[in-house]
């Protein structure tokens, strides 16, 4: 068989295959059962054609053409898209908390890396406020003190005018960026994540201890206690994601490092996205609720409900589902 005859015979088949593959890879079209089996038959035929072209000396342009067609067929056949089962809502309602519980050891490790330095710096600075200046620059401490030394309903940096949506938007961008960095830097053997967790823990503890020592404790605590339920937990979840990633490199187990990264990376990115969703909730609470001029007792009660909600959500959401399925 010569090249011309081969091309003349096979070109219509290739064109038919191209139309089918085009439709198969389009997200909104669905092939009928007959078309799918036709496509699969044509795909095998094309693989054979490509092998034939390679065994003859028919030039590289026809080989490239067929190679590209087979690549597209390969992609259409084996590229089933891993989309979240049950969509975004299903993922948030049970997929994410279940995934987090499956990785609970990393969660508790991240929690310790964050909470222990926070508790230590908090208690140390509360007993000796001058130490705060050795941890944070004076300007930061001054701004913090300025912010929490006035009542929430006063006009000023913390006044009602600048609150609500603007602050919620700011927190979404600021906090979620930190969370994503905390996750991504886990690639470096987990060290980047550990650094972000430690430094954020120390800084937050220092601010808290300092403000309490300066006598702004109630204003500060009643402001942060509500949204911190989602916010601090989400930072720890982002840290969990980073540690999962770092662990894949440090201890890949029976897999190769790249294989382990890809398996654990998928888990990690889901956790990071869950953390982002939690931070959106936190930012909304912080912008619209935390700044309301309400009696501290109201704030504390709401905070108790929010903390119970977070713990209940991460600890129990999706449990019943798993039992039913197994």
């Amino acid at each position: 068989m010569n090249k011309q005859k081969f091309l003349g015979e096979r070109k219509p088949v290739w064109d038919r295959f191209e139309t089918l593959v085009e439709r198969a890879s389009h997200p909104r079209t669905k092939l009928s059962g007959a078309e799918v089996s036709e496509l699969s038959e044509l795909f095998r035929a094309l693989c054979y054609d490509l092998a034939q072209v390679r065994s003859h000396d028919w030039g590289s342009s026809i080989e490239r053409y067929l190679n590209d067609l087979v690549v597209r067929g390969h992609s259409a056949f084996y590229g089933a898209k891993p989309s979240p089962r049950g969509g975004v809502l299903g993922f948030l309602a049970h997929g994410f908390p279940r995934l987090l519980r499956q990785n609970h050891r990393f969660f508790w490790a991240a929690c310790a890396l964050f909470a222990v330095p926070m508790a230590v710096s908090w208690s140390v600075v509360a007993s000796d406020p001058s130490l705060a200046h050795r941890i944070l620059p004076g300007s930061v401490l001054y701004t913090m003190e300025e912010m929490y030394s006035q009542e929430l309903d006063e006009e000023g940096p913390m006044g009602r005018q600048r609150q609500d949506a603007a602050m919620a938007g700011f927190y979404v961008r600021h906090n979620t960026s930190i969370a994503f960095q905390c996750f991504a830097l886990g690639f470096f053997l987990g060290l980047g994540t550990i650094y972000v967790l430690l430094s954020n823990g120390i800084q937050l503890g220092t601010v808290a201890g300092y403000l309490i020592a300066q006598g702004h404790g109630e204003r500060f605590l009643s402001f942060v206690v509500s949204h911190s339920s989602f916010e601090l937990t989400a930072i720890v979840v982002a840290g969990t994601a980073g540690l999962v990633l770092g662990h894949a490199i440090v201890a890949p187990g029976n897999r190769s490092r790249s294989e382990a990264l890809r398996v654990r990376g998928l888990v990690a990115v889901k956790l990071a996205l869950g953390a982002a969703a939690m931070l959106f909730v936190a930012a909304t609470i912080e912008g619209f609720w935390s700044a309301l001029p309400l009696p501290p007792m109201v704030k504390y009660s709401a905070a108790a409900i929010l903390w119970i909600a977070v713990i209940g959500y991460l600890g129990f959401a999706g449990r019943a589902l798993r039992e039913r399925r197994s």
């Binding site: 090249k3 011309q4 890879s25 795909f43 095998r44 693989c47 490509l50 092998a51 000396d57 028919w58 030039g59 590289s60 342009s61 490239r64 190679n67 087979v70 690549v71 390969h74 992609s75 259409a76 056949f77 084996y78 590229g79 898209k81 891993p82 989309s83 979240p84 005018q161 600048r162 609500d164 949506a165 603007a166 602050m167 919620a168 938007g169 700011f170 979404v172 961008r173 979620t176 960026s177 994503f180 960095q181 996750f183 991504a184 830097l185 690639f187 470096f188 980047g192 990633l245 790249s258 990264l261 890809r262 990376g265 998928l266 990690a268 990115v269 889901k270 990071a272 996205l273 912008g287």
Partner: protein
């Protein structure tokens, strides 16, 4: 099952499918990817200013707080979501990648999904370390599939989808005299792949310095010249390699079009 046979400095990677066919992919190097990044960055900046402009116009109606909040959220989506969302919707392409004919695919050769797109784009934060993608650059020149950190973790690679069209045509081939193919011994005729290589060189000859054209041509002219029966002709092939090759190409092409007509 993957079989990697990429050589050092090769811009290709190969993949063996379950149908026992070896597929070839052309990888995109750091330079082209930087170009795509530049285009995307320009688009992102333009969108950023467009958002700021529209929100400033809306401010008298909605108040300062709402527009500022919306601005922060949109800026966040633009910073972290631009690449991931485009690569999800356009199956591995952003506007910049589409312009330069690049696409992100799985290393198994198929299309990426939402999580891969998200993963490789969130990990830009790791690629960026310590300054302007230094870590990502190092990773991409030291992995056989030119992957930055985000690609390694997501199991993706960036390929060139289309070969840029070759410029120049073959009509001016008639400027060269036909080379009598009978000069070769044993009815030798250069293979089709060899002829295509000569053709590529011919199309590019005006973009290169003549000495460089001869230098490249010599690589092919040497083995082909050895097939010549006549020592004098062999010397000619050795001394004027590009001239020799282009004349052979002309004759070979003329011969094959005659065969077709017959």
């Amino acid at each position: 099952m993957q079989v990697r046979t990429a050589q050092p400095l090769s811009n290709r990677t190969y993949l063996e499918t379950p149908e026992n066919v070896r597929l070839a992919f052309r990888l995109a190097g750091p330079g082209t990817r930087l170009g795509a990044y530049g285009i995307d960055l320009a688009i992102r900046i333009a969108i950023f200013y467009a958002i700021a402009y529209v929100l400033t116009r809306l401010q008298p109606f909605t108040g300062m707080g709402l527009t500022t909040g919306v601005f922060f959220v949109l800026a966040f989506v633009l910073e972290w979501g631009y690449g991931a969302l485009f690569e999800t919707w356009w199956s591995g392409q952003t506007p910049g990648k589409r312009t330069l004919g690049l696409r992100v695919i799985k290393t198994e050769g198929y299309a990426i999904g939402f999580y891969e797109a998200m993963l490789r784009n969130l990990l830009r934060a790791a690629d960026f370390v310590p300054l302007f993608y230094a870590a990502g650059f190092l990773a991409s020149i030291s992995t056989s599939r030119m992957q930055r950190i985000g690609d390694i973790v997501a199991g993706t690679m960036v390929i060139r989808e289309k070969r840029p069209e070759l410029k120049g045509d073959l009509e001016s081939l008639t400027d060269f005299d036909a080379f009598p193919l009978t000069e070769f011994e044993h009815h030798y005729r250069p293979s089709e792949t060899t002829l295509e290589a000569i053709e590529t060189l011919f199309r590019r000859r005006l973009d290169l310095a003549p000495a460089r054209v001869d230098e490249i041509a010599a690589v092919l002219a040497e083995p082909i010249g050895k097939r010549l029966a006549n020592a004098e002709q062999q010397r000619y092939a050795h001394e004027k390699p590009s001239d020799f090759l282009f004349r052979v190409l002309r004759s070979a092409r003329a011969a094959s079009s005659e065969a077709q007509a017959a």
